[in-house]
Symmetry: C2
Subunit: 497 residues, 2 copies
């Protein structure tokens, strides 16, 4: 039994029967907006973390904010837990349903409501796909910066829930840095506005609080995003290294030189090999690691920075430095990186994508220790990650059909995350906690800190109806976790006194 | 009696007498760390909003985090309200004491604990002055970006409380965008860590929540700030206009062109005249408005952008465009802007500095309506502000000795803020709500939204001991405010359904 699963025990027993609930929904939702037969529910049984599956009681698909409000009022009245969902591309099980709960799909709220090129903002509904925003504003010479690998499919609502990043967040920030205003339906069904169209907003910063809250504080029904002007030019440099740590060091040197690349990505040997076999991006397959460093901006700026980056990479001992000759080659370089996850997937029946963040300068050391852990657990690990901002994505290759291998994989994953925390990092960069990392929360935070998270949750959702069992562990869960010999990360509070 | 004052009624009656409290503090604080005689308390009776004054019961000046924890434990035990304070340069009365409360001065926690040039961070105590950070990291070629006008005197702790901005926040963001981690003492005296040294942190974003919370959620005892590399070059252009609205339009055109200036400031006729008389910056005193547009970055980038900015300004009908010939002239141009507040202060016995934010493209219209309001109330208004990010600073000139003039000034100020809200802006950009704007909170937010703020406050400070009566209005205060004929801003919630 996986440590991750007992969340079901966190969810309350339903106080109302399915039939009553269905007829109540039927009063304001058309039949096609209510799913309850097993075959209709199956597509909703998991998100991108497919190792965990659970059929929900009911799925509702509202088309208006008013319907969302009515759904929340009804569920609140009957104490029915609600799991909000976009397109289900999340990787930490944040949208895993509850057997006794309703899945609230926001997929049908998918209109772009307003584009304001002067103020550089777009007002969109939560079901709008990340990439659809950039496509819609391209005629105005604008784009929406955060670009998770899943951007073709993932929705802006899901991006808000996970505070998604992507290849370009090193320079342009995470979702929280690119969002101005939200409209949110509270657990009671009230519609509130959070943030504003202006630079800052008075009162507590509920905007940032809501972003990354994984559907546990409210249901986002409208998002106003910031847009950026499309850069005049983008250019990418590929550097090969015969040693992973050298590549890690080069990353620090590029940043220390005062250059902020649009993207600074790293892949290690196994990832390079897999990507090359898959999409033939022209990667040097004999390299122990490659860095992809993209700079964007004005022509002058890009030329300057590419020159500086090339010199830095050569000086830091790369065996080969290549600049994309044209746009086609630039896209081919990225093609390899962007298809790295599926490419690695071809090497093994299953793979587990981790997501931890570390202070940039600890990169070489963490890569070394990850390799040691990989040997200890006898499970191959491929590394594909946002090196520039220290956001690691180790991919653990395993076979779920081998008894105990999933559990061993989870344990290795847990150790890698604890390694991240122990060097001053965190257990997640952009994928969220969800159900996947809820145990590591007990490692990352002190009981007083977890208590503060719970108090904030209580301020929005006192009855624990919004995505219960995700994100923030119960004291019970943490004591179970510690009982298994896991200890909390030693904190340095004394240092400051 | 001013509408702003009845906050005293919000503060609880003290359940413990002064003598008992003094002897309790004396058990762990040296005598010089406890002030209680009137003459010692006077320096703490107000902050930068000097129209409101109140002597506190006691002032304590801890030197260690441990002392701060003991102070909070003691005040919590005895239900004594606590107002945390830096150097008191705040402009919204956020540090106004309570007659029955303790002022917790963090001025003696003023060490720079650690500078990490590789990770580009500094770990400092809350009493460190904003400018002292940049001075300390200059040898590493780094600086701390947010630069409020008060940066020589104001502390980083105060910057956290107010989410301070400054001339450069258009390009480099507010305090919240330049802070990585906080150590916070809770109302119970617990020490918790919020945020991390890595790019992102799991759980709810308590870091952003704490920043700008005006001492109402906890006491910040350590701050880890992000540092930026000093730009290779900075250059400023001064443009004169014969019409304020033309200048406002030019601002939008510069931003729309995809240039993000390091600073984009505007001054109108009265402000120009006052600044010129005061510091002789060489401003064109016949102009109705001037813009100061600074760009920074690499030499190439700056040259390109200055050229583009000059063309845009000429095209938008400026009567004169001047580029600073050298660093001395660049500093002289800024000198006028930076001394504008005191300069305007020389024109009138008293002045009241407002702080509202609007969507950039509404600038011309808001300037026009502000001028109309100024005529209606027969009180001169000078405008000096961060035009680039729509952060207005109208300065109302008045004489407190004329009966009723302060009240008329407050009323005009309120109308200007409500004008900001009505065009989609907010009642504060960077000065906070404090006691000054607590009534306008009733205009900006719906009852449901204010209730959510109160619930968050309750999650951190259920007994209302941390800076009570500031920031978030009570329902009673809002009904009093509405009883006076003020109405809540009509919201556009329907628009999205």
């Amino acid at each position: 039994m996986s440590l991750h699963s007992p969340q079901q025990t966190d969810s309350a027993q339903l106080k109302v029967d399915k039939t009553t609930l269905l007829s109540a929904f039927g009063k304001f939702l058309p039949p096609e907006a209510i799913l309850f037969e097993n075959e209709d529910l199956h597509p909703y049984e998991c998100d991108g973390l497919s190792a965990y599956r659970q059929l929900p009681l009911i799925v509702v698909l509202p088309r208006t904010v008013d319907e969302v409000q009515q759904i929340m009022r009804l569920c609140h009245e009957h104490d029915v837990p609600v799991v909000a969902r976009g397109t289900g591309t999340g990787l930490s099980g944040g949208a895993l349903p509850l057997a006794e709960g309703v899945v609230l799909s926001l997929a049908r709220l998918k209109s772009i409501l307003e584009i304001d090129p002067v103020n550089r903002t777009a007002r969109v509904q939560p079901g709008v796909r990340n990439l659809a925003i950039s496509d819609a504003v391209k005629p105005d010479g604008l784009y929406y910066a955060p670009d998770p690998s899943s951007q073709i499919a993932c929705t802006i609502g899901g991006n808000i829930a996970e505070n998604s990043g992507g290849v370009h967040c090193l320079k342009y920030g995470l979702t929280v840095h690119n969002t101005l205003k939200l409209k949110v339906v509270t657990v009671e069904g009230e519609l509130i506005t959070i943030g504003s169209d202006a630079l800052d907003s008075p009162g507590y910063d509920l905007l940032a609080l809501m972003i990354g809250s994984e559907g546990m504080l409210g249901v986002v029904v409208e998002v106003t995003v910031k847009l950026l002007p499309l850069p005049e030019r983008a250019q990418v440099v590929l550097a090969a290294f015969d040693d992973v740590e050298k590549a890690g060091t080069a990353v620090g040197e590029i940043i220390a030189a005062g250059i902020i690349p649009a993207g600074l990505e790293m892949m290690d040997g196994p990832a390079i090999q897999a990507a090359e076999d898959f999409v033939h991006a022209g990667y040097p397959t004999d390299a122990a690691a490659i860095l992809l460093c993209e700079v964007d901006g004005s022509n002058q700026e890009v030329s300057e920075h590419i020159l500086a980056v090339r010199e830095l990479l050569q000086a830091s001992g790369s065996t080969e430095v290549r600049t994309a000759n044209d746009e086609a080659e630039r896209l081919r370089f990225w093609q390899g990186r962007k298809s790295a996850f599926p490419a690695v997937g071809r090497l093994s029946p299953d793979y587990y994508c981790m997501d931890g963040t570390i202070p940039r300068h600890r990169l070489p050391e963490v890569l070394k220790k990850t390799a040691e852990l990989s040997r200890t657990y006898n499970l191959p690990v491929a590394n594909v990650f946002h090196a520039g901002d220290g956001n690691m994505h180790p991919l653990i290759l395993y076979n779920a059909n081998n008894p105990g291998e999933l559990e061993r994989t989870e344990e290795l994953g847990g150790k890698i995350l604890e390694l991240c925390v122990s060097v001053g990092g965190t257990i997640t960069g952009e994928h969220g906690v969800g159900i996947e990392k809820i145990n590591q929360m007990c490692f990352q935070f002190k009981p007083e800190e977890l208590a503060q998270f719970r108090a904030v949750k209580h301020a929005f959702d006192p009855d624990e109806l919004l995505n219960p069992g995700k994100g923030i562990p119960t004291p019970k869960r943490c004591s179970e976790y510690r009982a298994l010999g896991n200890h909390q990360h030693p904190h340095d509070d004394e240092a400051s006194s």
